[in-house]
Subunit: 297 residues, 4 copies
């Protein structure tokens, strides 16, 4: 019921709204060609952001939000019509319908503050997503999740069963996932999953990366005596905590704060940073450029 | 010598770089027309920002940074060529050369932290400006200003002489000013100056507007017991402290801070906020929309 | 069940811990007298904060956290023993047991983000409170509240029934309340309630006070074109939005944000600011000094 | 002349004001003993901060600001009188006169923004210091420094002359230094200096430590694609960038910022963080606890 309500809100809000994402080597005439294409195809530009890495030989990134009457039925034609321009400029692109909810799978372990935050944002109508399932290696969140009509899968993990469990996870998600959120999921995904969902798995790391990579970052932060702690949302890659950073934020601490205080304060940052990253991903605001992100906020 | 050095830096950095500012009623085809115009006139878009207030009947704002070989000699032709498009869409526009320093006049009273900050930023090569003069109703800053080769005019003000002094100020600035910065100038400009330099006088108000309008904002803040203080840079209008806000920032305070502590902490915010506003003005990043600003950072 | 768990956590954590709050005219020897008193009564100081307004004729504020074996049974004796010192220095004081949960009543209307935040913090073991009831003029939050075993009272308010409803509210709370949190309760309390619970009603105002007092602050903020929005937690007094400020925080916005964006962003600040204020109130960290607060964080 | 003015301001402001710093194993009765001592010696406590690491076997830290008529002449007697208490509790302690300026030596290389900030704060009467000299391996800042009547020593460094130069530096400072500020001094001090001035050399590192230790932190930050950059003030120890952190702060950046933008933005954070750390050091607000700091702000 919540799901249906959220869906209806966004279908109304984003009727006719499309998004075009562009990445290509920079060269004169790109913007002119694209804006002309949109104009001639009856699409009115609502918002446009671009980033030129380096006019001489760098990459060009662009995100356009446009309105086109009846886009819902005509998006295939629009994509078809864009192919010649894409080929001419060597563009890596996609055009999406803003009203189309993205299928989101949330992984969580015991700590549920990030999960709660995502659910709260979703219920409040901030995330145009269909939460197709929550997967956890603990039972703790079942009640909360199921009370919202969302399927909950309990899949405990041991070193021995890890790969088997990941196969099961992938089966469950098959056809039911656009992107995955690791909302404080305390397991490291193996390359089997990471490769398959490249740039589609968002993790929240509980430190200000690249400081305190790996386990127990708040213990590390306390030991080092930092005066500010942080959290980092990033796409997951094979290398631990080294994927493209989407968003970071921080909070001030002092000598009075012990490790448990840092954890408590950190939870506030983690959930906010993760929620922002998820929202931006859903709204097609993030382009990955090698090991970095271009975020059009 | 500083002045010459700054000028040379920016002439090199911004060779061939132009900026186009656009404001007009929104309507389909604007972006296409403008980007086509630039492309056909050999201008490559480096950066583009736009803001659509409301696709139905709202205003459309745009800032484009472009590169055109030899722009320095061809800007008049470019402007001429743009007139038909401007007329077609009813555009309020300007095209500037980024390498051209803006003539900046700084007004200051006794407190010199904002003046110092601007001078420091200028010397560090952050502000593409020619500081044509500093005008003050006190002698305090003369040595500092003149040591940098900048003319300093001491013009004391009394209620009786105010209008006469403003006439003298305007004479001094005639032909020597693109915009004015009130860097903690503790006099209220009369409409005589305000009207003449509309949207070209930047003031720093030492509070988080619209809280604590008028005099002694830190005393007011202390009395009210706020936990955060702020500063606001805005364009000056006839109504005191009510002009379009360009930038604001804040800092945390506590019950321990007395009025003089607030003032000290406030100085840090004031100078940073003012320096940002001045930089954005110089870089043509601010468009005024009635009593608000659109700032493309 | 949640309630019982929270209670147990704090009874363990704060066994033997007491808090002493002091306010009196400043004068030499106060700290010596108090610390000697505690020492001689077997209380070891864990944390001490003080604030001297002005050594010449100002007020002196102090908060001490101490450990005394078996405090739970001996607090009355301790208070009794302190009376002579209190009289000597003219001290306004209280001694509390940190393990004793405060009885909290939450008022809420339709928007539930602040209520959710408080409940989340409470469940996470951050708030040593017993939530004795939630009172609302809407039915929306009933399910959430009752699912946690907390009584929910639906008391709709009209201008005609207001006073009658407040009487009913007071009856319900009689003996069941230490302090009240207005977690986005969109009714103005009448002096009947405000006087009775002086310095015990915490409100969250959705602006950076004293800017945008009164209704629709986000609309006001949008109209003024501010670049930063805020929220303010304060004790409620007879004068609207003018009570002692406990905590404030802010968030950056831009010309792109319309009123509904400000509201969304504002919700994040509101809930965090309110949660901090409630936590500090529960932990006896706030002393009210006329129309201001001294907050020992 | 500036120096004399600053000195006079603080002599007046802090007449009779003393500071007592305490570090010892925690144990009941410390506060009582100390506050009784102060009371019986005619010292009125103005401000007191304390931190108990762990009541069971941890360390206890305290900073007291007090007023004692005629302290200037009686500080030796006061210290003498305190020795028995210090011995009883095993206290590591000092008592200072707040009116006594600390002798500060500033080291700087080419970039002068941190130097300028310190000089500006000093002239504004925020730092009760006597700047006895500025030492630089470049000539760039000579004019600025000497214009304020401060001795400037140009001591270029090569790998071959490093130790010899450090000997020279130490000779120059002999009897003329209480603490040293490395205001963007791009040379690593050898243990010869570090050991001699333990916990008395403050460095500003241009990253959010422990991220980006070592050289070119902004290049590292850009390469990693962080969304926030920072700066860290710390005491210098033998291990590079690993000394006790005094203060940190951060600033938001985006994909648009290249390395030179990060450097520019970073300069703002560096100077503010360093200025805070220096001020706290001067005001005896920092206690070093192994590899961490306790900062009583």
């Amino acid at each position: 019921m919540v799901a249906q309500h959220v869906k209806t809100v966004f279908q109304e809000k984003y009727r006719g709204v499309g998004r075009m994402l562009i990445a290509c080597p920079d060269r004169p005439g790109i913007v002119a060609a694209i804006s002309r294409f949109l104009y001639e195809n009856g699409a009115n530009i609502l918002q446009s952001d671009q980033y030129t890495q380096d006019p001489e030989g760098g990459m060009f990134f662009m995100r356009i939000e446009f309105f086109k009457e009846g886009l819902e039925d005509k998006i295939d034609d629009l994509c078809q019509a864009f192919i010649p321009i894409a080929n001419e400029f060597g563009i890596d692109w996609k055009i999406t319908r803003a009203s189309q909810p993205k299928k989101m799978v949330i992984f969580v372990s015991k700590e549920d503050h990030c999960l709660q935050e995502l659910l709260w944002n979703w219920r409040a109508g901030d995330l145009n997503a269909e939460i197709t399932m929550v997967i956890s290696n603990h039972e703790d969140s079942r009640e909360l999740v199921e009370s919202l009509g969302i399927p909950f899968h309990y899949l405990p993990v041991t070193p021995e069963t890890k790969l088997e469990v990941e196969k099961r996870q992938r089966e469950l998600m098959e056809g039911n996932v656009d992107f995955i959120v690791l909302a404080r999921y305390m397991q490291i995904l193996s390359p089997y999953l990471v490769e398959h969902y490249r740039n589609r798995v968002i993790n929240i790391h509980h430190s200000f990366l690249p400081a305190f990579i790996g386990g127990k970052p708040y213990d590390q932060a306390h030991k080092r005596g930092v005066k500010i702690i942080g959290a980092t949302a990033h796409y997951v890659t094979e290398e631990l905590d080294a994927g493209p950073i989407i968003e970071q934020d921080v909070s001030r601490v002092s000598h009075r704060d012990d490790v448990s205080d840092l954890k408590k304060e950190g939870r506030h940052i983690e959930r906010i940073v993760l929620a922002r990253a998820v929202k931006w991903h859903i709204e097609d605001r993030i382009l990955v450029d090698k090991n970095k992100t271009v975020v059009f906020t």
